[in-house]
């Protein structure tokens, strides 16, 4: 699976984590590799192996200056492309042209730093997402490091039927008195859920991966049965777009290693985004569990994964926000959940499709082939949430006309 992920452009860190030219370098763990990211004097970003190629000291301790990063140990200096600029302890002039630090192609777009870690000859075109076209003030990027395998987080995020249960507090605020009260919040993706926890799913493969369309009955309007339909794209290898009333949440689950995941959430819309308010609705405003400084999500069993059971009379989960709830589920399974013990049901069909796609990609890549889908320019891929008449449910495809366009 590592070979599959290395065939895609992956988010490495947020632009904010390298805030200015010659700012402090950042240690990065990505698909099991230890790397260092830095922004040079001209603003270009480099991603190198963390260990200095000379004798292995960490470049994360290095000096970032004069268009390069310099190892503290013997002063070897490297450019963003890995080229050796100086080797003060070896004067042979040709030497520095013969060695190179392992470096990776890097792009900076949409508030994120991206890298390609795969074989050079297979490098795909850079993937463009809708949020990359949004004005900076209409977009915000949040990173959360969670101590669980990426697939647990992927499966939780792409799971329509948990929304009305796990996120009861925001998805159906009336759960306590058994009446469905829609949440008036305009920011929250969970408020689009309606009172039907058994959605019918239609799955269809696309260029970038696949879609699910989840249908839920909502009763009659204008004399005919209406359905709520939510179309959610799964973008290979581990990305989803979730709709909220006025914004879209594009979420990347990027493996740091087998047991740790960097979740990048990009929220964008057509109006300025209130970052603090979004952090609050995710439950990331609670300094006991999350700090924007290091992006680590800290809840453990020693604090009941953040659950306050004394609040469970009025709070479904006793957890404070949707990311707290989602993270608690993945953390509670242990770093790699034992899938030999599970009981999947029809509501889990999208989960099964993700596994199928990933496993098929792994098998194909191992045989020298390509992953089953590669996103190219998907700036016109979104996540519509709307109402359609029950007798014309096929009209949902008109809501996402660009999801099937294929280059071949």
């Amino acid at each position: 699976m590592g070979a599959v992920f290395r065939r895609f452009w992956l988010p490495v860190c947020t632009s904010e984590q390298l805030p200015k030219n010659d700012s402090d370098p950042l240690r990065v763990r990505l698909v099991g590799e230890n790397l260092v990211a830095f922004r040079d004097t001209k603003g270009a970003v480099g991603l190198l192996q963390e260990a200095c190629p000379h004798r292995g000291a960490s470049l994360a301790l290095g000096r970032v200056e004069e268009c390069g990063i310099r190892c503290l140990y013997h002063g070897w200096k490297f450019g963003v492309d890995g080229r050796v600029q100086e080797t003060p302890n070896y004067s042979g002039p040709a030497f520095k042209d013969r060695v190179k630090a392992r470096s990776y192609p890097v792009r900076e777009e949409g508030g994120l730093i991206w890298a390609y870690l795969g074989p050079q000859e297979k490098q795909p075109p850079f993937t463009r997402y809708a949020f990359m076209n949004a004005a900076q003030q209409n977009r915000t990027v949040i990173r959360i490091n969670v101590n669980a395998n990426y697939l647990q987080l992927v499966e939780g995020g792409f799971d329509s039927s948990h929304v009305g249960i796990l996120h009861s507090n925001v998805a159906r605020p009336g759960w306590l008195d058994a009446t469905f009260t829609p949440n008036p919040d305009r920011l929250n993706p969970a408020v689009l859920a309606v009172e039907d926890n058994d959605p019918k799913l239609i799955l269809e493969q696309t260029d970038f991966g696949f879609n699910y369309a989840a249908f839920r009955g909502v009763g009659k309007a204008n004399g005919s049965e209406q359905l709520n339909v939510r179309v959610v794209p799964y973008i290979m290898p581990s990305t989803r777009i979730i709709p909220a009333p006025t914004t879209l949440f594009t979420v990347f689950e990027t493996p740091a290693d087998d047991e740790n995941t960097s979740t990048f959430i990009v929220i964008h819309g057509s109006e300025p985004i209130d970052r603090a308010k979004n952090l609050a609705l995710l439950g990331l405003d609670d300094s006991r569990f999350y700090s924007e400084k290091d992006c680590v999500y800290r809840a453990t069993w020693s604090d009941q994964l953040g659950q306050d059971r004394s609040r469970m009379r009025e709070s479904w989960t006793g957890l404070g926000g949707i990311e707290q709830e989602d993270a608690a589920m993945s953390l509670s399974m242990g770093p790699i959940v034992d899938r030999t013990q599970e009981h999947l049901v029809p509501a889990d069909r999208a989960i099964v499709e993700i596994r199928r796609m990933l496993l098929r990609s792994a098998a194909d890549v191992e045989k020298g082939g390509d992953p089953v889908a590669m996103p190219g320019d998907i700036t016109d891929v979104g996540a519509p949430d709307a109402f359609v008449p029950a007798n014309a449910r096929d009209s949902w495809r008109d809501l996402a006309p660009n999801h099937w366009r294929t280059g071949t």
């Binding site: 499966e155 799971d159 039927s161 948990h162 009305g164 249960i165 796990l166 926890n197 058994d198 069993w301 020693s302 009941q304 994964l305 659950q307 059971r309 469970m312 479904w316 989960t317 006793g318 709830e325 608690a328 589920m329 509670s332 399974m333 242990g334 959940v337 034992d338 899938r339 013990q341 599970e342 009981h343 999947l344 049901v345 029809p346 509501a347 889990d348 989960i351």
Partner: protein, 444 residues
Amino acid sequence: MLTREENELMCRVGPGSAMGDAMRRYWLPALHSSALPHPDCDPQHVELLGEHFVAFRDSNGKVGLLDEQCCHRGASLLLGRVEECGIRCVYHGWKFAVDGTVLDTPNVPDPKFKNRIRARAYPVREAGGLIWAYLGPAQKVPAFPEWPWTKLDAAHRINACAVVNCNYVQVVEGLVDSSHLNILHDYGMQATSASALTFAQKVGKMQIDAAPRIEAEDTEFGFHYAALRRKAGEDTGTLVRIAAFVAPCFVANPNGDLAFAVVPVNDTRTNFYHIWWDAERRIGEEPLRSQQLKFVGLDDEALDSYALSTRTCDAPDRPCRENRYQQNRDAMRTGHWTGLHSFTQEDAAVAVSAGGIRDRTKEMLSIADVAIGRLYRVLLKCARQVREGRDPVGLVPPVDISRVIGIEGTVPDGQPWQSLAPGHKRIVSADTKVVARSSDSAPV
């Protein structure tokens, strides 16, 4: 001394291990009843033999023990809602009864679906202040062990548990080892003379002789042994203290009113349950209860501060080599033998200091350790029996636990010590099934 293979066979209790399979054939204490104080209270995490479970008490007061991970997609049921006669996973709302019946699956339309699946649930009993569980094969559930204290009201017993960060065998070793009492517990034993507690007076008698003669014999339930001491200042008569080890992990103390269950949490952590009982005195009530627990270092405060409780057993400052097991060496210079808090902390420190799983290829057992060697033999027998597809010690035919006692007494010269425990069926030869009552045996 054991070979490395024997030591591993005896100590490892995880799923699939021979000793683990043997342990799973018995009813084992899983937690205190008091940990689930009322219907629909918060669920509790239980780790037993290296497996993780959730225990909960439903709206009718019934206790359930299920696998911790929800059988749908593996979220922990410890986060679940306990309500309306079941526990409900907060992830997708699947709801389970104490017996594992699936009561509700809100994200599945087919109403019959929930009848086709079951959560893995384990038989549970509540007795003697403990919630007991059986984790073995369903067709082999043994009779429930009716100890004398399992039927007593809470007012007549004291339950306490220390969480010890080492393998269970190390903890049992301390319970079948008479010769450490006058040494390791020197300080506490001196205090016994002055104490009004029955417990203190009973153990106080042992101060007379630090090198008792030890005799051990196999029995139908495991083994029993006697520490034999000459009565102080007298030429005749023998002071006898008999302890019984009941497979796989129970000990009846010679005091006669104290039993232990030494239950493996995993290979390197042990729940060390103590049960005192008294059919007449209301020892479970204050102030007797707290006096007893304080005297041996089992009060909540002492357990918490020495990392011997579930709350603190993972604390970074738990007793370990780096902090010299929290030993107070200043106190040692001014007359305290060990510099450790009390009986419980002393026993825990020596057990933990031997390592997570003690290396028994490097020990030198002496004549004082006769019962330790016997313990190894019985435990290894249990593991091998189960590995060979047979029933482990004491289950077939079932032992009547109510006849198993620990006892202290004096026997006149010429009378066998076994006469004090006439209900213990001895196995005269390990190879044959010839069984004799203790009262038939030869003189000491």
